[in-house]
């Protein structure tokens, strides 16, 4: 099958990296202890959430500040369906939340994706705020008091559910955006909409498809999150801070790159947790994140993920690699003129 072949790593380095990552993540509960399992449950969730924002923000070029709306839709769908009396199976609630989020994305996306830049950002932000007000005022959501879900005390259960969902999300996005025609369509729309139209791309349809993809992912993770924390209210699943985190993680990791959000999520979430562990509940973390974002915007506009390619392009790094592994460097590569190439 073509899609299966597309998943085969292209280099030995990629294969080794993926194997180590796979073994590390899947064996973590066996040796990591509850604390680290909980931490990495968070890392995997935020990696997928940041990737979902990256689909619309990084790949399609539409800066959305309303992604939390879809996270909340997923969380409330799972919460409502698992209430006593309905007693839905947890796994059955996830696709329902995803479908609902997808439908909302189509309805909202049709008019809103005609806007560009700040107008689109404001429109999506307004959607999330409106949804938060509805959840706060409506009776069936429990209003500001929120709602409780059945409890499941197994840390490993949520870790593996989150991990499998995140892995599937990354595979889906990789196949669609990096190995398929859809990725070319989305990136073409991002770079020049009129030019994309001139080569036959239906830009309206592509934008809505990208928006739906970026909406379905947080809905699934919203559902898992709701069951994990066993209690949700508008503040915990519809707060604008959730979107902010997705944006910052994608930005720090690298916009428009498949691994960027995962890297950003891992770095920022680990820093956040360590700050909490060392300094307690402090706001100094926000100052550190602010400084980090400023540094990245100034010196690494393509995010932390670009460090690898930058290092490869550096003359010193090339010389060091040549000395260490003489056969690794192509002949004359050290003295070749520096050209701006895709990493």
């Amino acid at each position: 099958m073509t899609w299966l072949r597309a998943l085969v790593p292209q280099t030995k380095w990629q294969a080794t990296f993926l194997l180590v990552l796979f073994v590390f993540l899947f064996s973590l509960p066996a040796w990591g202890g509850d604390y680290w399992v909980r931490i990495f449950t968070g890392v995997t969730m935020w990696a997928a959430l940041a990737l979902s924002w990256n689909v619309i923000g990084g790949y399609a070029g539409y800066i959305s500040f309303g992604q939390v709306a879809f996270f909340g839709i997923g969380a409330y769908t799972t919460g409502l369906l698992m209430q006593q009396g309905r007693d839905w199976n947890f796994f059955a609630t996830l696709p329902i939340g995803a479908i609902l989020a997808g439908v909302v994305a189509v309805i909202i996306g049709w008019p809103v994706l005609k806007l560009r830049g700040a107008y689109f950002a404001i429109a999506t932000w307004a959607l999330a705020e409106a949804l938060m007000q509805v959840a706060t005022a409506a009776g069936f959501t429990g209003g500001s008091s929120g709602m409780s879900l059945p409890t499941n005390s197994s840390t490993s259960f949520f870790y593996y559910v989150m991990l499998v969902a995140a892995v599937l999300t990354f595979i889906l996005c990789y196949l669609l955006l990096e190995r398929g025609r859809f990725g070319y369509r989305v990136k073409a729309v991002r770079d020049h909409e009129a030019a994309a139209e001139s080569v036959g791309i239906d830009t309206t349809r592509v934008k809505i498809q990208a928006f739906v993809l970026s909406a379905v992912i947080p809905a699934v993770f919203g559902g898992i999150f709701a069951y994990w924390i066993t209690f949700i209210n508008p503040q915990s699943v519809l707060s604008g801070e959730i979107t902010d985190q997705m944006v910052v993680m994608a930005l720090v990791g690298g916009l428009g790159r498949i691994w960027g959000p995962a890297l950003g999520a891992a770095v920022l979430y680990l820093i956040n947790r360590q700050f909490l562990a060392v300094f307690g509940d402090t706001t100094s973390y926000i100052a550190v994140i602010g400084a980090l974002v400023a540094l990245i915007v100034l010196f690494l506009p393509d995010g932390l993920i670009s460090l690898g390619s930058r290092a490869r392009n550096m003359r010193l790094a090339q010389q060091l690699i040549t000395r260490a592994i003489p056969r690794a460097a192509p002949p004359g590569s050290v003295d070749q003129p520096k050209t701006k190439e895709r990493a």
Binding site: R181, K187, D191, H192, A194, A195, E197, S198, R342
Partner: protein, 237 residues
């Protein structure tokens, strides 16, 4: 056989008439030039033909199909390709990715082979992995033209494709135009370079103030009084 047939096409922006009742046709394997002073409506005419701007009235037929009011992507799929006055590239994608992106709605399986052919034809075979945004101005023109060639277009609209291009690169573009004409493609070319118009265009349309003031062979329009007035103005009595 007529590839493009335009009848009484009109478009105004507010009170300003950009294109007023333009009619012309482009035949099979024909290269038709459109010239005229700045603001004469040439680029608006291209935008009307490609569906970027909707006409107020008039009809456009491509290969016998009425494409008036069609959306740009439908017109492109129907067989019309274009370049823009300012190169419109997918700047964050590589040269090869730009070519691949232009065939996503076409014969995808043939994309690698076709891309190699276009890279060779446009003399871009040494920069396939460079980002489009980092190419020189001339190379960007070549890539944009090459992107049109990735698809099976019957009519290609070139908007000042040789503007600001090095003479060597211009030769590549001209050779490609001739080769593609021989392969059965028709061209509609906006151009300010009269030498290029004289060299490749079998027929020339002259526009001024949104209207066609003359059309014919290059020699005919060069001796036409209206054309001289449109370009140089009317002498003071």
């Amino acid at each position: 056989m007529t590839v493009l047939d335009v009848r009484e096409l009109r478009r105004s922006f507010g009170g300003i008439r950009a294109v007023g009742g333009v009619s012309f046709s482009v035949g099979d394997q024909e290269i038709v030039g459109i010239i005229g002073p700045n603001g004469s409506g040439k680029s608006t005419l291209f935008n009307l033909l490609t569906g970027v701007v909707r006409s107020d009235s008039g009809q456009i037929h491509l290969n016998g199909r009425n494409i008036t009011s069609w959306k740009p992507h439908r017109i492109a799929r129907a067989g019309m390709g274009r370049t823009f006055q300012i190169p419109a590239l997918f700047v964050n994608m590589t040269v090869k990715e730009n070519l691949f992106a232009s065939i996503v709605e076409g014969d995808w399986k043939a994309a690698p082979e076709r891309a190699d052919f276009v890279l060779d034809l446009m003399n871009l075979e040494h920069v396939p992995h460079m980002l489009a945004g980092s190419l020189s101005g001339g190379q960007q023109r070549l890539l944009e033209f090459g992107r049109v060639l990735m698809r099976d277009t019957q009519l290609i609209l070139l908007d000042e494709v040789t503007a600001g291009v090095h003479p060597n690169l211009r030769k590549i573009i001209l050779a490609a135009v001739r080769r593609l004409q021989a392969d059965g493609r028709a061209f509609l070319v906006i151009e300010h370079d009269m030498e290029m118009v004289r060299t490749i265009c079998q027929r020339v349309i002259v526009m001024d103030a949104g209207e066609i003031v003359a059309q014919g062979s290059f020699d005919e329009i060069a001796s036409n009084k209206s054309v001289v007035e449109a370009y140089l103005g009317v002498p003071v009595e």
